[in-house]
Assembly symmetry: C2
Homo-oligomer: 366 residues x 2
Amino acid sequence: MGFREALDTPCLVVHEEILEHNVNVMAHYARSRGINVRPHQKTHKTAEIARMQRDAGATSATCAKLGEAEALVGAGVFDEILIANQIVGEQKVKRLLALMDRVHMIVAVDGPEAAQALSDACVAAGKTLDVIIEVNTGLNRAGLTPGEDVLTLARLLHEMPGLRLRGIMTHEGHVAQAKTADELDAVAAKAGEALVATANLLRANGFEIDIVSAGSTPAAFSTTKVDGITEMRPGTYVFNDNTAFRIGRIGPERCALRILTTVISRPSPDRAIVDAGSKTLAMDPSPSKPGHGYIVEYPTATIVRISEEHGVIELPEEARGLKVGDRIEIIPNHVCPTVNLQDEMFVVRDDEVVACWDIIGRGKVR
Amino acid sequence: MGFREALDTPCLVVHEEILEHNVNVMAHYARSRGINVRPHQKTHKTAEIARMQRDAGATSATCAKLGEAEALVGAGVFDEILIANQIVGEQKVKRLLALMDRVHMIVAVDGPEAAQALSDACVAAGKTLDVIIEVNTGLNRAGLTPGEDVLTLARLLHEMPGLRLRGIMTHEGHVAQAKTADELDAVAAKAGEALVATANLLRANGFEIDIVSAGSTPAAFSTTKVDGITEMRPGTYVFNDNTAFRIGRIGPERCALRILTTVISRPSPDRAIVDAGSKTLAMDPSPSKPGHGYIVEYPTATIVRISEEHGVIELPEEARGLKVGDRIEIIPNHVCPTVNLQDEMFVVRDDEVVACWDIIGRGKVR
């Protein structure tokens, strides 16, 4: 039986051949540039895909939160994990220390308060923690301004026992605002150059900087063109999504993860209701065109509204044959929060379900 | 220790006294109008709150999906459940039949295709299923146009063995677009009147219509003012949210569920980063003011952007004392998808954590 009939809906379907291709493309590119891929686990949160990334050459993974790291360490895939985020609070510092007994950990810092707490805890436990400084190259989220501010924190860290400064990182997520591929390349290059210049400033002041780390799938082939970037931390690239293909570098055929959904109502000729709403697709907007996802079978149809368990699709003439019970595939606007809503993903190959993978890091927000 | 220190973040915190008050206000109002509350479980998905609703007088519950119903039936709270949604597909019909062995089920229908499949399955199993017809009173999602279209389907249902028509329902969710309380009342009244007129049309044609059911928390005290409405199906009212208090009928003091979050970075005087992003707050927009939630301690501060694990807060002068490690409470824009992102909620009373409730229906999207 084909997967469209075999599975109940709504559910996550992963096209395994596309997934493998995506993982290989990134690994191949990184090798060609002589840099590391430290793949972000937030996108898939799945041991099987982590293993695929490891087998393609990754020796370390990135996580957003300790909970994600704990799930991944439990699966035993990587010996080193970078938390590309600040660790703040007594409960979390305790969990970090416990993780350090199991794998090599690296943690981001962007200010003296959080760093001091990490230092105190490491000293009390007789441990040394590797840290990297988060740099703000334009996203204006966390992170220090490139240059002198980073040097100041590096000097403070040097005075904090139990911490060892290993490098610097940025998440150049603001490239997603670019309207064209050329604009994206330019914004990414600027971010990469600011990061490398800061690394060189630290080196000129006597710091050993091994890691100069850029993030973000949209900029994966752009920021990394800057000489001096040593690694990247893409996440979304394993699946890609409706955001990824808007600037025309890839198309829906490179989107490995889709939501399989059923038409449950046809209240009027130009409207179909599917059983995937915001609790399945997530509410992230599309940067390219209006709507809550890309319908693979009917690219000209628009998911005009979603409520929690309903998707409302406006049907152009050519899609009006859709009937109650029909199943269609939707590529989500942003795949990461979509995956985070489900407990498992179904893997298909040659039209058949070949595996079911647990999303072990789902909901690990702490 | 106070709950703000005892809990790790981000997490869901339920203020039990507010929750109890909200449940009682709705139960009291419904009794005063002589109508039933068939509370929607999609909001909390939690056995403890279902019991609270039952103890306040509800004899039946509403669910959006079979998965929610299965979780609730497992907890043994209600003997009757309405699925206020279409059931389509072989797998789901099988699960519905299994649920019918355990509790009394009622299911929405809005067209002959889904109804015919239910009829065939019930006949084969020697069972009778209660159905209600979904009517579109203006939301333009699923449901039939009030009046003749409903009568036509009622006549078709009458010819389908194994089905018994019990009534009609609407979800007047379009009231949420109203800009003022008066406008909301007017839109809700119009929806209620269309529903009652349709019920009377069916009765005039010989159908016995016991259930005339309205939905939606924002319209709970409005649609139900129309004589002839026999029940309502509010969900959000147990917690309320940033959407609920925008038109001024209730304030944040009636919002029982908040996200406890920690400041993890203070990159500039007017910016704070918290550890709650879209994977915690959900991405639903606010209908009242820009931003991704209402900060209880600093109502004038705005959560200007969220990414998956970060909230970016713009701080007005009076909030600039916020420092790394501080904890604040956020009332989400839309509480239902927010709850759906976590596995548990922590219950607080008199500043202490008094319980932890499992969100048993979380992620039951099928």
